[in-house]
Symmetry: C2
Subunit: 473 residues, 2 copies
Amino acid sequence: MPAFPARLAPQPRSVAIVGGGLVGSLSACFFAKRGFQVDLYEYREDIRRTEHVRGRTINLTLSARGQAALRRLGLERALVAEHGVALRGRMVHHAAGAGAGALTAVPYDPVDNQCIYSISRRYLNEVLLTATEKYPNVRLHFRHKLVAINFKENQMTFQVGEENSQVQRSASLVVGADGAFSAVRRQMMKAPLFQYSQRYIEHGYLELCIPPTADGKFAMAEQYLHVWPRGSFMMIALPNQDCSWTVTLFMSFKQFEALDTTKALLDFFGQHFPDALPLIGTERLIKDYFSTKPSPLISIKCNPYHVGSSVIIVGDAAHAMVPFYGQGMNAGFEDCLILDNLMQQYNEDFSKVLPKYSEIRNKDAEAICDLAMYNYYEMRDLMNHKSFLLRKKLDNALYQIIPKLWIPLYISVTFTSEGYSWCLKNKYWQDKAIRAVLGVFGMIMLLVVVLFIFFFIHAIIETPCKLFIVPEL
Amino acid sequence: MPAFPARLAPQPRSVAIVGGGLVGSLSACFFAKRGFQVDLYEYREDIRRTEHVRGRTINLTLSARGQAALRRLGLERALVAEHGVALRGRMVHHAAGAGAGALTAVPYDPVDNQCIYSISRRYLNEVLLTATEKYPNVRLHFRHKLVAINFKENQMTFQVGEENSQVQRSASLVVGADGAFSAVRRQMMKAPLFQYSQRYIEHGYLELCIPPTADGKFAMAEQYLHVWPRGSFMMIALPNQDCSWTVTLFMSFKQFEALDTTKALLDFFGQHFPDALPLIGTERLIKDYFSTKPSPLISIKCNPYHVGSSVIIVGDAAHAMVPFYGQGMNAGFEDCLILDNLMQQYNEDFSKVLPKYSEIRNKDAEAICDLAMYNYYEMRDLMNHKSFLLRKKLDNALYQIIPKLWIPLYISVTFTSEGYSWCLKNKYWQDKAIRAVLGVFGMIMLLVVVLFIFFFIHAIIETPCKLFIVPEL
């Protein structure tokens, strides 16, 4: 760790980043590139020097928004091309069984065949931390845990290491990139008019693993995110570069509790995931399942994202979401990009940049939090329904015919940089349009029926007239 | 303050109440009555020995739920009969002006003429604190600010007085009755699966005053809560025992900011509250308005209300609400009553009482938070609409005819002890019933029209037949 000069008043153009995870280290790069003196404080050890980091290990998927941020820093190629596994769609494993007929491939982008990338969280974090060190104006401080912030003087108190020694640090801007349980946000919550909600869903997750085959290959088609939708629960699998699969089981804590014996677990897998069971392996399943507890899933919304012109939160600290749209990291990276754009636009004037960031980012962040929640329902339940798959096909067909007018929700969220709230509104508009078309079609049908009845009645009414008339002629 | 024995392990049957406000002191009485050793910790001075307490000063209205709790402790008579000002309805001051014709009295209960009571928060708090002292097993500890709770050992750390001296205390049950910004709840938030939301509305409030008349009487009809509904903002007035009125102006912070000169303020009052302006007095209005800042209004929901079998939160700590249904204190008092009922039912077994309390209380508390939010809309806007006043009349008429079947929302919330969620569901059912009746009525009308058209067409169709026939006869 570089020596840290003792000072109390913040240097002008100094930025303190709290949190050395993905978004924190990316944010450090952005500010360093602009020439700020950047100090990054992380409460854990340097992960590049530890063997295993406990934490959120759900596999990450990188898509357009995240890639755009990496691209501006010249980091995209190294990460995506060399270390990502391309995914071109979902592979749905239907409840029926393991036969070939029980699989449906649902492409993400049937028109341009765009893909997302499965990538290891740890690898990505290591690359980004190393990227910060390429800037001479970045200093990394590990084992620094934020205890308090004095907003008036922009002074932070950190607990250093295990012992109870505390240090005071300051900066002209504090960036809270310290995740869903952000200490920076906890300090902000004391300010009046801070809107906040945290919601744990009733479901948790537990990670399992499918190893490579005996000849070192992928055990399933690797260009897909595999999904076993089972209505009230689901399992997914994401490929790793070493040909293994990270398998995640999502279900209610009650269901997890009910599977408390080896027999119950094997019966459950035999019934619901018969094709996955042999791939995971009975022994490994039992070991992995019973050695870990299911983890909770939280969704966090708050507003504003800044205090005055000196503190701001980004990434999960501002908008933690459930992982079902694969957008958590991408949204966090996009935060950094948007912040950088605003820094450009407002000539690095924090008093303008920060309020503008809160204003434009909040509605989009809340939209993706809602979309992520919705996507769980789509993935675990709707994917089972023929009407839903039909709608997907209709969306894709329209997208093929009028790609500028009809952008399906998944495409706009994953492959464009349109605001998330726009994507949501666009979907509402599409739903309305489809309902309107169906409505007009229904009306025409009704009109046809009414006209038919009218002519039928008319014919009947005319007939007796004639019947009466004819005999009298 | 009585001497406090040094001990670390909690005594069995000992209860620590955090917060000596209304709900805290009432809760202390309930536990003391059951024979528990009760220690009440309040971070302020003893309000009975201070001149003025800053804090939330919106006048309180006591209604059936609060009265029921006081009644069980034998406190109702002293408080209600001797110190409450009975309110029998709302008096609506229409925007038109100050003439007699511009007032509409809307009774709370036109059938049984039940009333609610306007009462001073401070007086009520003093009476309740004194009530706790009648139990020899209650000890009061002022200037004790909760800093932390160790949930495993049920140990609390308090900062005592101004200086930085801390003491450790413990109890077999900790009751957090420390208000909307509860320190107990802040500790609970760290536990997994704790649902939480805090929402500040865009509007704030500012208190003004109408003094008694020169001959010491009320300046307006005193049996009413006076309301000046103005669509996007409103003013209300509640009578005090000394014949003065506490006037509260509710509007958006932006509107408050816009009224930043004496002229703007007087123009605004002259335009919107011409009848109130002379009662408040120009000089007093200017002084009161510019000497205080508008205060924010917060709504808080969380779940569960307990941790294990040793910590529980009640009152605003569990469910702070906006003040528009006059139910904040009543709901808090009802919490104490329900907790007492459960203590009876489960033989004072905290491991059963606490989860049950969370389970049954949460849905009702969330319902009243929602209702309070809705009632702001009703009071400031709907009260202006003839259709709304007509619906009120319809509700009251039906209540008069079928009082067991048709209980209007306000009546059920204010004058019954039905769960708040039941009140809300009952209102939905009534809305549905009215819509259904209107729907059936509409269908009948449509049928009449269709039949009329049918016979009309039939007549026309028959006519030409006859026309053709007649000449040929």
